[in-house]
């Protein structure tokens, strides 16, 4: 899964940083910077699949010759992306909370 790998690898990166780098402040900002941009692009990807699916359905409804199987695939793609996004988000939040505990 293209979405999970960068996020999960960043979690590992984060954990390593938390142990080796001194000072919670430095780690926090560093983490937030990298993390934030990866998370943002991930959210954008998920959003794009939603947009594509909506467009596909729209074209189908207004009789612009959109094939039914393309509507189905686009819709499934969006559903799967959303599901994955949700799962990863939950994992990320849980892992971040774990990491924050280590700081203290």
């Amino acid at each position: 899964m293209s979405l999970a790998l960068p996020l999960l690898s960043h979690l590992g990166h984060l954990a390593a940083n938390a142990v080796s780098r001194p000072g919670p402040a430095a780690v926090a900002t560093g983490a937030a910077g990298e993390f934030g941009s990866v998370l943002e692009s991930a959210v954008q990807q998920v959003n794009q699949t939603q947009v594509d699916a909506t467009k596909s359905i729209q074209r189908f409804l207004t009789g612009q010759g959109e094939e039914l199987h393309n509507v189905a695939l686009a819709t499934q793609r969006a559903a799967v992306a959303f599901d994955l996004g949700l799962q990863v988000r939950n994992r990320v939040v849980a892992a971040y909370q774990e990491v924050m505990k280590i700081q203290l």
């Binding site: 010759g65 039914l68 189905a72």
Partner: protein, 145 residues
């Protein structure tokens, strides 16, 4: 180019073959008709097919222009046979002419049956096509499950 348009194509094929079959049946039923309102014996009729663009009833305006290869069929004309009627010598027949000959329709039973079978096969083939398109569309819906 949507598969739904193909349903219209098959429907047009069925209509055309049905119209053809109807005329052929009329020919067969009137094979011995010596008297018609127009005067003279019954004259054999046949259809002329021509290709026609079809659209799906649910299509939008743009879809009409995206017609890459979906060609339906329509009946452009009904042709009445103009050949000479068949003359038979039957002096007692009510429609007999002064020379005792009666004008009968030109009727070739074998030809009409072959044509009718052709129309029937054509019709069935269109039904098979429509069924196949329907199945494909159902398959597409299954993708959503």
């Amino acid at each position: 180019m949507s598969l739904f348009t193909s349903l219209s194509v098959s429907a047009s094929g069925m209509s055309a073959q049905r119209a053809r079959a109807e005329l052929l049946v009329e020919n067969i039923a009137n094979s011995e008709t010596t008297r018609t309102p127009e005067g003279g014996p019954y004259r054999r009729k046949d259809v002329v097919f021509q290709q026609e663009n079809v659209t799906s009833p649910f299509a939008g305006v743009l879809a009409d222009q995206m017609n890459s290869g979906s060609v339906g069929v329509g009946v452009s004309d009904i042709v009445v046979d103009q050949s000479e009627p068949e003359m038979r010598y039957l002096p007692e027949h009510p429609d007999a002419g002064p020379d005792g000959y009666v004008a009968f329709p030109r009727f070739n039973p074998a030809e009409e049956m072959v044509n009718l079978m052709g129309a029937s096969n054509g019709y069935q083939a269109n039904v098979a096509a429509m069924t196949s398109i329907k199945e494909m569309l159902q398959q597409s819906i299954s993708l959503l499950k």
